[in-house]
């Protein structure tokens, strides 16, 4: 159990030679395995911001060339500096009402994400959509997919014209051909799974007209629906109310990121994760790879996904007081699995109706069914868990298999593929690509000329560019069933038509009734009744049709709930899961999402085969090595990534990569653009997502270059030597016990000198508003929505994989991920995620070193960055303790000047400068939003009110972890948060006086597990000593004064105590 002292010793021995400092011992908190192992490269990143650049050795132009450039520059300067460009003002001939130039107009609309709506509000400036915001009427926060939709909309790689075979064609010809196909019979439609009531209505009409209709998407919840069928005899959708849950068990589920209802689940879970708001819930995660559930959990059990069924049996047996099967007992013997299952079972039983169990979509149907039975036994149905109808019951790989059989059987003459990309993302075992050619005519209606378009065109078929959801009428249902209306914010950029318009034309509807607006309205009228009270306009304005949520039922599980769970095969398993960034590959060509560092691996531009530390060691695989994975006859060469906390004998690979016809971002073979990542679909069997047992894994040939940001922008206040000591104090975590005893525990983790004085004059902040922020680590689940929201709001460019690997990514906001525990033992791993943007230090180190005063303080406490003044010395970035400054090494936005890419300029926020090469940039709390609110308020002689300025990261955050406002106003939400005892200032000991405060994370530990199965640095008591705190005795802890971190009850923590009492007390 007490693993830590041993390993501390051994590692100290091995590292003593290399670095004979106090920090040579393995750290208890670390960002990457390399740091855990004391890799010299990490130290280089901490020492030098950009260690890969050796500027001294840059090839310099010879003297003569230098003089030529100098001369030319001087001459050009003279010629160009007379007056800047002649600019034209181009007003409307007739200005539409309520459309003054520069006005931001907000529209409610909705994005359908594989059958689950994401209701949003979209801001439009001068007729172009530029920013996605949440629709408060339907709940706060957005996911990163809706945030990134703006870039997807303006993607220059989108298809722009109708084609047939190798020639261009027209919409009228294409629609006529589709209509002909529908009339001729033996016509099939394969539609990407959608929740649109209108599309479902048209699908029913098409079926009535003899069209074979199939729904498929890799994100279909085949297993969950099959499990519900087993338990209830009919397809049922499971809804959770995690706000009611005292105990949450997540089984192989990343429900805060890839669940169809992820945003609502994440925000509901967070309401119970803050110790002061209400009774704190306890979260258990049982999972193979590290997910957001593991991050949010209080106790995490790394377990092979194929053993999760056995785990359910163990829990069930403990609750029911029966004996588990032999297979389950064998799993119980692995590590702490048995103990964990017992503790979970007791807790679930105690919670009773307030227990919730979320099962991952990749788990087999039997596991879903058994959990239905378990929830019924606990009495949780009706409190935390509800059942509603399942409108997507027929979608899935099974349905696709039926279509493939029909194609192969010659029963389909014409195949119309509505959105989706089945040639790429159908399960490999189905052989969809080959089956497609059996149809005489194939038409693909899609946003891009992707793999499926290529197959259709090569077969002499059609391609029709579909309209993006931002430019079309539509409707969609959220997971709870609520209907939302989509309205176009702009006319179709490339004359595309929406899927409903194409189907309406296929059905031979007249031009009048086949418009998107008419179709959606007809659906609305048929369900919502007459419009005498203006409910259409109301629904359009609100973005939601009131009273359309599914009726919640509480069904009793039948005998099927006792379905036998297949015993897991021994050996290696392979988990195929949706990527939390590009999902099933549909967002692969979105540069924001590709460059977004994954929440846990921090990988950009790639997926990788994630492995446990011991498994990787057995196979002699290291991160970056190529591996060969073989399963069921299919094999794939893929790069390995060693993930701390990953279950052993298990490998995880994200779907959605290895695209060959996506675009210039994700890969396009025809244009010789190499693919980002590796395509896992060919390995998939019955469904795209899920666990495949009996996988063979071997070391492959060679290495692959990955661009991970895990070791970039390391906070190193006093250099690498101080890093190990300081790490635990950046993202602070404590236990509920500790918090109850001393709510201010986080503040006391770090010793602060009594009088901290600055060599510089203390600034006076006399503005009427003083801006400040708090970020609650207890709520953050590392979903990254804030990062994309910031990128969209602030015109942040992407830089490409090569530049990312040099540490030059431009994100103003990053989510640091700290592992805690012993990397060699997955069961000890815990993690904290910490979003970091500019802390807006009142005593800012960056300002002190800027030679040209390009970064100075505002009267309102902001650390202003003046791009037009910056000369690019990068001293500020070097001196920034939080490492939040980003430098434009190249003119990253220049590619937008190319004629084909100019459309991207429309995505830029007109209220934020588009930065050029050679300037530093960083977060200023969305200064453009502050300015807008301040001007509006001051114009009528008042102050900005609380809640009037919402920063982009704040509004996007589903768990509402970010609070922003005027700290001078004691009644503001942010002032109240700052006054809460959990609030602490990161790097406070440097006297930087940051305006962003963090709220410490609190773990609600199960007394039965906290000592028996220690996880994380705080629980394991391996937090190193602070600068001068001596070893406290346990008696000292119990005293009234020394009420700080650590658990007095646990053994062996004395010397390793992280005693950091405020110094004066000692």
């Amino acid at each position: 159990m007490s693993h830590h002292p041993d390993h501390d010793h051994s590692s100290a021995d091995t590292l003593e030679v290399a670095a004979p400092s106090a920090s040579a011992a393995r750290p208890s908190v670390w960002r990457s395995l390399a740091e855990f192992d004391g890799d010299a490269e990490v130290a280089a990143f901490a020492k030098r911001e950009f260690p890969t650049d050796d500027f001294d050795r840059l090839e310099s132009p010879d003297r003569r060339r230098f003089m030529q450039i100098l001369g030319a520059s001087a001459a050009l300067a003279g010629a160009s500096s007379c007056r800047w460009e002649r600019e034209e003002i181009v007003p409307h001939a007739i200005r539409p009402e309520d459309a003054p130039p520069g006005q931001r107009t907000v529209f409610s609309t909705v994005m359908d994400l594989a059958g689950a709506a994401r209701p949003v509000r979209v801001e439009s400036v001068d007729g172009r959509p530029i920013k996605v915001e949440p629709n408060e009427l339907t709940g706060g926060g957005t996911d990163l997919f809706s945030q990134a939709a703006i870039l997807g909309f303006y993607d220059p790689d989108r298809s722009r014209e109708v084609s047939r075979g190798t020639t261009a064609s027209s919409w009228s010809a294409a629609l006529e051909a589709l209509r002909g196909a529908a009339v001729a019979g033996k016509c099939a439609v394969l539609a990407s799974t959608s929740s649109s009531p209108t599309l479902h209505r048209l699908a029913a009409a098409a079926r009535a007209a003899g069209v074979r209709w199939t729904w498929y998407s890799p994100l279909d919840r085949d297993h969950a629906i099959a499990g519900a069928r087993m338990a209830f005899g009919r397809p049922v959708r499971v809804q959770y109310d995690l706000g009611q849950a005292d105990v949450v068990l997540s089984l192989d589920s990343d429900f805060q990121r890839d669940h169809a209802d992820a945003v609502a689940l994440a925000s509901a879970l967070a309401t119970r994760r803050m110790p002061e708001s209400s009774k704190m819930s306890r979260v258990y995660a049982v999972e193979a790879r590290f997910t957001s559930s593991g991050l949010s959990s209080d106790h995490r059990l790394p377990l092979r996904a194929s053993d999760v069924g056995a785990f359910v049996e163990l829990v069930e047996a403990k609750i029911a007081g029966t004996t588990p099967s032999a297979a389950a007992s064998a799993v119980a013997a692995k590590g702490h699995t048995g103990l964990f299952a017992e503790a979970v079972a007791d807790d679930l039983k105690a919670a009773g109706a307030h227990a919730a169990i979320v099962v991952g979509d990749g788990q087999p149907a039997a596991v879903h069914a058994r959990v239905h039975g378990l929830l019924a036994r606990l009495g949780a149905v009706g409190t935390t868990t509800f059942h509603t109808e399942e409108p997507l019951a027929e979608a899935g790989a099974e349905a696709l298999k039926g279509l493939v059989d029909a194609l192969n059987g010659g029963q389909v003459d014409s195949l119309v593929i509505l959105e989706g990309n089945p040639v790429y993302d159908a399960p490999g075992a189905l052989g969809f690509g080959a089956a497609l050619t059996k149809a005489k005519t194939v038409a693909h209606v899609s946003l891009y000329r992707d793999e499926t378009t290529g197959a259709a065109l090569a077969h002499g078929g059609w391609h029709l560019p579909v309209a993006h959801w931002l430019e079309a009428w539509g409707d969609a249902r959220s997971f709870d069933g609520s209907v939302h209306l989509a309205q176009p914010l702009i006319a179709p950029l490339y004359g595309g038509k929406s899927a409903i318009e194409v189907v309406a034309a296929m059905l031979g509807m007249g031009a009048e009734e086949a418009t998107g607006a008419a179709l959606v309205r007809a659906t609305f009228d048929a369900t919502a009744g007459d419009d005498t009270d203006g409910r259409w306009n109301r629904a359009l304005h609100d973005g939601v049709v009131a009273g359309t949520a599914f009726r919640r039922e509480s069904l009793a599980a039948g005998a099927g709930a006792a379905a036998a769970i297949e015993a897991a095969a021994a050996g290696m398993e392979l988990n195929l899961h949706a990527c939390p960034k590009v999902l099933d590959g549909r967002f692969a060509n979105n540069g924001w999402l590709q460059e977004l560092p994954d929440a846990v691996t921090k990988l950009t531009w790639d997926n990788a085969l994630c492995l446990g530390v011991k498994t990787a060691a057995q196979l002699k695989l290291e991160t970056g090595d190529m591996a060969k994975v073989t399963v069921g006859g299919a094999s794939l060469d893929v790069v390995a990534y060693v993930m701390a906390g990953h279950a052993e004998d298990s490998a995880s690979l994200a779907l959605g990569y290895g695209r060959t016809a996506a675009g210039v971002i994700a890969g396009f073979k025809a244009a010789e653009v190499s693919s980002a990542g590796f395509n896992a679909y060919p390995l998939s069997k019955a469904g795209a997502r899920g666990t495949l047992t009996g996988a063979q894994l071997a070391k492959g040939r060679g290495k692959y270059k990955l661009a991970a940001t895990q070791e970039h922008h390391l906070i190193d206040a006093i250099g690498m030597s101080g890093r190990a000591e300081r790490l635990p104090f950046l993202a602070r975590e404590g236990t509920l016990e500790e918090y109850t005893e001393n709510p201010e525990f986080a503040k006391e983790r770090v010793h602060l000198p009594k009088n901290m004085r600055s060599l510089f004059d203390t600034k006076v902040y006399d503005g009427d508003h003083q801006w400040g922020m708090t970020i609650d680590l207890a709520a953050c689940n590392g979903c990254n929505a804030c990062v994309i929201a910031c990128q969209s709001e602030n015109n942040i460019p992407i830089v490409g994989k090569e530049q990312v690997s040099r540490g030059r990514e431009m994100h103003w906001m990053r989510v640091d991920f700290y592992f805690q525990g012993d990397a060699q033992d997955a069961e000890t791993i815990d993690a904290v995620s910490q979003p970091v943007n500019c802390l807006q230090c009142e005593n800012a180190p960056c300002e002190q070193v800027c030679p040209v005063a390009a970064t100075v303080h505002s009267q309102e406490g902001l650390n202003d960055m003046v791009y037009n003044r910056c000369i690019g010395t990068r001293y500020c970035g070097n001196n920034c303790p939080a490492k939040v400054r980003r430098f434009n090494y190249f003119h990253y936005t220049k590619f937008m000047d190319k004629p084909g890419n100019k459309v991207l300029q429309l995505a830029q926020n007109p209220d934020v400068t588009v930065r050029s090469r050679g300037v530093m940039e960083k977060c200023t709390y969305c200064i453009q939003r502050i300015s807008a609110a301040r001007i509006k308020a001051r114009n009528v002689g008042r102050l900005v009110q609380d809640g009037e300025v919402v920063t982009s990261c704040q509004s996007a955050c589903p768990p509402n972890a970010i609070t922003f406002g005027n700290i001078k106003d004691e009644t503001s939400a942010v002032a109240k948060k700052r006054n809460e005892p959990r609030a602490y200032a990161m790097l406070e000991e440097l006297n930087i006086r940051p305006r962003t405060l963090y709220m410490a994370k609190v773990a609600n530990l199960n007394p039965k597990l906290k000592d028996a199965m220690k996880q994380g640095a705080f629980q394991a008591g391996t937090i190193p000593k602070a600068h001068h705190g001596g070893g406290h005795s346990d008696a000292g802890h119990a005293g009234t004064q020394d009420t700080h971190g650590g658990q007095p009850t646990q053994d062996g923590h004395g010397a390793a105590d992280h005693s950091t009492q405020e110094g004066a007390g000692h």
């Binding site: 500096s81 007379c82 007056r83 800047w84 002649r86 600019e87 034209e88 003002i89 181009v90 007003p91 409307h92 001939a93 007739i94 200005r95 003054p100 130039p101 520069g102 006005q103 503005g767 009427d768 100075v856 303080h857 505002s858 009267q859 309102e860 902001l862 202003d864 003046v866 791009y867 037009n868 003044r869 209220d911 934020v912 400068t913 200023t924 200064i927 453009q928 502050i930 300015s931 001007i935 001051r938 114009n939 009528v940 002689g941």
Partner: protein, 216 residues
């Protein structure tokens, strides 16, 4: 062949080198200071417009309020240049055949834009907001000059950062009651109400001098 040596008398030129260097510095300073200053380069800029619109006639002789055409000035950052439709409110009744108005009629009928040339052109990284100024007592004339006397709109103020800051640091000389914003000839309060209004404007002006006030 013997090496060439400069004759001894050329040594006198050595004394000219410092003088030349000094002269060069003075020349450069003068060049940058005066020749490149907004006062020299920007003030007086009066490009030709697609329509010979006279502010002197409309705002001066006819006394049209600025806000009749620039109607977003009080609520928006931009003081919008009016659409052709605004011109046609009057000009479909008067001067209906004027050849000078032909481009306006053509634009209105075809629905095309008239392309006016921007006279008061700030740097793209400066975010100026008209509403923030006119609602707080800065009159049009303070930045645009006597538009009501201009046949062709001419830039009269340098619109440089230094010039902006002069007023932000000491706005009072330029403040006026909000009711007098568009009055080009206003000088000092004439009524008691105006005096009170002015005092109120001075109270609520709050000009900021932080960088982020204008640069984002």
């Amino acid at each position: 062949m013997a090496a060439f040596h400069f004759p001894r008398w050329t040594n006198h030129f050595l004394y000219l080198i410092p003088a030349g260097a000094l002269g060069g510095v003075v020349y450069a300073v003068v060049l940058v200071w005066f020749a490149f200053s907004p006062k020299t380069l920007a003030v007086g800029y009066a490009p030709e417009q697609p329509v010979p619109f006279s502010h002197a006639v409309h705002a001066g002789q006819l006394g049209l309020d600025c806000r009749y055409c620039h109607n977003t000035v009080e609520s928006m950052a931009h003081a919008a240049v009016p659409p052709a439709a605004t011109c046609m409110n009057c000009h479909d009744k008067i001067w209906t055949d004027s050849p000078k108005l032909e481009p306006v009629r053509a634009a209105y009928t075809a629905g095309d834009a008239l392309k006016w040339v921007r006279v008061h052109d700030l740097a793209d990284y400066a975010y100026f907001d008209h509403s923030a100024h006119v609602n707080r007592g800065i009159g049009c004339v303070s930045c645009h000059g006597r538009i009501d006397q201009m046949e062709v709109v001419t830039q009269q103020k340098p619109l440089s950062m230094g010039w902006c800051l002069e007023c932000h640091r000491n706005p009072e000389p330029n403040l006026r009651p909000v009711s007098e914003i568009t009055n080009m000839a206003w000088t000092a309060p004439t009524t008691e109400k105006q005096t009170l209004d002015l005092a109120q404007v001075v109270e609520m002006a709050h000009p900021q001098e932080s960088c982020s006030t204008c640069h984002r």
